[in-house]
């Protein structure tokens, strides 16, 4: 279970391989979601595919094993770090590159929109067509994060409707839970505020639809000065004026791109 928590994956993504039938029986009993295999059966199980079927199609997906190792080193470094969370985050030397999404990133953007829950501003699942439409309209911004431990790849996205003259509207904000706690959603929103203001918008709106796990984003919007402007069915539309000072970027992030 500690392994599943450390890797931030579900128990159904874990296989337990052991030559001791007693150990296998115990794991099978305590953690029924875990796939339990004898060493002798491992090869045929791998050959059969099933749960071992080829991983996700994107570059980030393929590099996930390396990223999990980076994350484990990050965790260990933080556990041994004196001086608090903010000091640790500064020491990580995180560089967040924010900019318009490119067509080559479509697969990863679709994957991010579908797989995020806690840090996803909407309960709605946005399909490939809709993500492609945002991309074609030039309203899709993505963020890539790297630090002294490695490259986390494309870990955040904002889809913005820029069709209304007065206010821009965030239709989707999604950030990978692998980078939870590092200020990426706040940075993406700040970047979007700057872009909207530079384009002459008076305000930024953000659609928030609770999915039972994403209340953090509603809190974040409130923290960044957004207020409820209206409610449509299960969706709350937040709005923030772009006049006056904007909330600061998280101090530990170096922001690149424009």
């Amino acid at each position: 279970m500690r392994i599943a928590e450390t890797l931030n994956v579900g128990l159904d993504a874990v296989a337990f391989v052991d030559e001791d039938p007693f150990e296998r029986a115990e794991v099978a009993h305590l953690l029924p979601e875990v796939l339990v295999l004898a060493v002798a059966d491992l090869e045929s199980a791998l050959a059969a595919g099933g749960r071992f079927a080829a991983g996700p199609p994107t570059g980030e997906g393929r590099r996930r094993a390396a990223m999990y190792r980076d994350e484990e080193r990050r965790r260990q470094a933080e556990a041994g770090f004196a001086g608090g969370r903010a000091a640790f985050l500064r020491w990580c030397a995180m560089r967040l590159e924010i900019g318009p999404a490119a067509a080559a990133e479509l697969d990863r953007l679709v994957e991010l929109g579908e797989r995020t829950h806690r840090l996803n501003s909407t309960a709605t699942r946005h399909g490939r067509d809709e993500v492609a439409r945002w991309l074609a309209a030039g309203g899709l911004v993505r963020a890539r994060l790297a630090d002294r431990f490695g490259d986390s790849g494309l870990i955040g996205m904002v889809a913005v409707d820029r069709s209304a003259a007065a206010d821009w509207e965030v239709e989707l904000l999604a950030v990978s839970c692998r980078v939870d706690g590092r200020g990426v959603p706040a940075a993406l929103l700040r970047w979007t505020m700057d872009a909207a203001r530079a384009a002459g918008a008076a305000g930024l709106r953000a659609r928030y639809r609770p999915n039972g796990r994403n209340v953090r984003l509603a809190l974040l919007l409130r923290q960044l000065g957004f207020e409820r402007a209206g409610t449509e069915a299960e969706t709350v539309v937040f709005r923030r004026s772009l006049t006056g000072p904007l909330p600061a970027y998280p101090e530990w992030l170096e922001i690149a791109g424009g």
């Binding site: 928030y208 509603a218 809190l219 974040l220 409130r222 923290q223 937040f238």
Partner: protein, 85 residues
Amino acid sequence: MSPADVRARLEPLLAAVLERDHGEVTAFPASLPLLAGGLGLDSLTGMRLLAAIDREFGVDVAADDLGLDCLETIDTLTRYLADRA
């Protein structure tokens, strides 16, 4: 529940999530904003506060007040809970 009772039970929760002394929280004016420019609750400490409120008052704010309007100030939160707890 009376607003005074709510405030008395809310203060220890605020003190815990904000890591402040109880006396300090007692002295906070009711009009103090909870989030931006006030007590400085952020999305993580805010989550802890909502969980603590659910345990203490049996009110699931996130499910009930989708726009989190009640988190404007100590006063709005106190009145919101007084109406429901």
